[in-house]
């Protein structure tokens, strides 16, 4: 169970296993150091290096976009990525192996929570510095984090509980509109809601309240799907959830006081990177806590054999209700953040297209797996941006990729894998002691 892929391949001979052996003992914190050095390096020498290599500017997304746009620049882009990202990360990670392992061990012995916190601070620092290079990167990063929240929460219903729910964009819409109405009516002078009611310095402090409110409204909306789920499962529930999505969308289109089909704009700019990051971490942490508890595993029991779950003291109705409302809450929060990152929402944003997108992320990443959902959301978000130069054909490449994944790994890339933070951040040195 402890054996990771690199450990498994260790006995094989050859170059691959050699490299694997070199790096399998690098703890996460070592990689984080490497990445930190890389992004700082990019900050300092990125621009001159890019110009020296004949690139117009620092490649925004590891050179994917440039490569597709201007094939002539492929060698220099690759060199840039090699010099700025690959080599520093690999070298630092390898060189810091001993101290990093010692540090990881010390941290974990000192306090589990503290260790997690330090890892998160490091991760945030890396993302922050990376995003400072351009506004585009910042935007992609925020949307990716929000996509993680949506995907992980949808996995609670579609993966952990095994219902094919189509209502997630609807929950997002409820959250987005509630949070927007909250902030715009209270803190912004605008044409729809008139004068601001509260001084704007209070805003950033009350913003989380708005998001939570959005989450709660989404949760209440989820009752409309959760209650039929007591009696109905499978296809019919899928349709009920789909009908819910259409109803929410159509309802918002008909509500003139939130702008109807024209949408709602002028949300204040409070969804900055630390806020989005913090909410994403909270979302992953709480959802991961939940699905690893017996209350959360009851979702699996209901999915796999409801009759048995009921006969083994599991309150199936409560379980279903909690699953729907809980997942909807996070979708609502994510929707609220989405509205404040984009600073504009309209009902069309939350339609079938969005549904296809989030479903794709969940099923690509892997069912019943927080880990998989993070991977799915990040890889499809980045891929979506990286393939942008392909324009229309992006929407052929991504679906084809997904079809291939479905054919060869029907439950997604990393399905049914527990996301164990403790295992993730522990030191990987001293194999005699650990393994």
């Amino acid at each position: 169970m402890e054996a990771t892929s690199s450990e498994l391949s260790a006995p094989e001979s050859g170059l691959k296993s050699k490299i694997g052996r070199l790096f399998s003992r690098v703890p996460i914190i070592g990689w984080l150091f490497g990445a930190l050095v890389a992004v700082i390096l990019e900050q300092i020498v990125g621009m001159p290096l890019a110009l020296a290599l004949g690139l117009p500017k620092i490649p925004v997304l590891f050179g994917f976009v440039t490569v597709l746009k201007k094939p002539m620049l492929v060698p220099s882009t690759m060199l840039f990525v090699l010099l700025i990202y690959f080599l520093p990360i690999v070298i630092i990670a390898r060189l810091s192996l001993e101290p990093a392992n010692r540090l990881a061990e010390k941290l974990i012995n000192f306090s589990m929570e503290g260790s997690v916190l330090i890892h998160l601070v490091l991760l945030y620092a890396i993302l922050h510095i990376w995003a400072e290079v351009s506004d585009y990167r910042l935007l992609i990063l925020k949307f990716t984090l929000i996509a993680i929240m949506v995907t992980v929460s949808l996995n609670v219903i579609n993966g952990y509980m095994g219902e094919f729910s189509c209502s997630h964009p609807g929950f997002m819409a409820l959250g987005a509109y509630t949070a927007s109405v909250f902030t715009v009516s209270l803190f912004v002078n605008d044409s729809l809601f008139g004068q601001a009611l509260l001084p704007s310095f209070l805003g950033p402090f009350l913003f989380p309240l708005g998001l939570i409110l959005g989450g709660c409204v989404a949760s209440l909306g989820a009752l409309l799907v959760a209650i039929p789920s007591f009696k109905t499962r499978g296809d019919y529930l899928a349709i009920i959830s789909l009908a819910f999505l259409f109803i929410v969308k159509s309802l918002i289109e008909n509500l003139e006081f939130v702008g109807g089909p024209r949408g709602l704009s002028s949300q204040p700019d409070w969804a900055n990177l630390p806020i989005v990051f913090a909410w994403t971490v909270a979302c992953i942490w709480i959802i991961n806590n939940f699905v690893r508890s017996t209350l959360g595993k009851a979702l699996n029991a209901v999915r796999d054999e409801e009759t048995a779950a009921n006969a083994m003291t599991v309150n199936t109705r409560r379980t279903k209700m909690v699953a729907f409302m809980f997942a909807a809450f996070w979708a609502g929060v994510a929707g609220g953040l989405f509205a404040h990152v984009l600073r504009y929402v309209n009902p069309t944003t939350f339609g079938i297209q969005k549904l296809a997108e989030v479903l794709a992320m969940v099923y690509f990443g892997g069912l019943n797996s927080v880990y998989g959902s993070i991977v799915g959301a990040v890889s499809l978000s980045i891929l979506g941006e990286a393939l942008r130069p392909l324009e229309l054909f992006k929407w052929i490449v991504i679906p084809l990729l997904l079809i291939l994944v479905m054919i060869f790994r029907p439950t997604g890339l990393i399905a049914f894998k527990e996301f164990n933070v403790k295992k993730l951040i522990r030191p990987k040195q001293s194999p005699g002691k650990e393994v």
């Binding site: 039929p228 009908a243 008909n254 079938i352 079809i403």
Partner: protein, 307 residues
Amino acid sequence: MAFFLQNLVNALQWGSFYALIALGYSMVYSILMLFNFAHGDIFMVGAYIGFGVATGLMVLASLWAFTLPGWLILVLTILLSMFLTSFLGMFVERVGYRPLREAPRASAAITGLMIGIILEILILWGMGTQRVSFPSLIDTVTYNIGGVFITNKKIMIVAISLSFMLALHLFIKKTRWGMAMRAMAFDYVVVPLMGVSINHIARMTFAIGSALAAVAGILFGVAYPVLDPYMGIIFGWKAFVAAILGGRGSIMGATLAGFLLGFIEIFVAMIFPSTLRDLIAYSIVLLILVFRPYGFFGEPYSAKLRL
């Protein structure tokens, strides 16, 4: 009264599109126990194929300098497009569904969705973002019957739809192949043991469903002469709802529910502002499913997404 009857006629026409598409969903469901989410886009591609065939026939006719009557072009278009679109259906089955027959049903649903997106993009790429208008093959004649205006096209559309539904019904009830399909719907596991190839039946089901979708596409083109690549999404999802409403896998149910959805939509738009159409229509659908959780003709058995 005349107003009501007028809407009734419109609803009949509107419902026939839904019913024809819903049949495709239902047939595939009854055989393979899964929904072909690419079906809406097959309908869309069918409409475009119809457009291509009709235009091609007209060009050919003018090249060789003889006139084909409009109705003949229409009949040829329908037949040829059915033939061509059925290949698309078989292709989708082979590529997207056969490899996933043992996989969780949700995975097959995702594959279907993705094939749908690919079809849309291909059409968008081939035809451009501009909508195309379907050639007007027959002249519109309007009859005024006691204040109710009925066009010859509406009569034709409803008549053609109904006759295809009847033909399907007879095919399933009377022919050997239909019998095999029913047997397959009855028992997925045993039938292959009896010497009927499941691949063969699945292929045939997709072919027939797609051919019917092509008919719906062409009739849609005749009635509302603009086609766009996203019409499959709009119609497909609604027809899918109709298929479920009718009762999973029930041919009869899908037909009736298709017409019912047409009626709901037309009459909601008649009474309320048209922006409320989706809101009310889907609320009704939701209510129906809450009180009849298995649709009109569905079997109440615990349907689980096999994970």
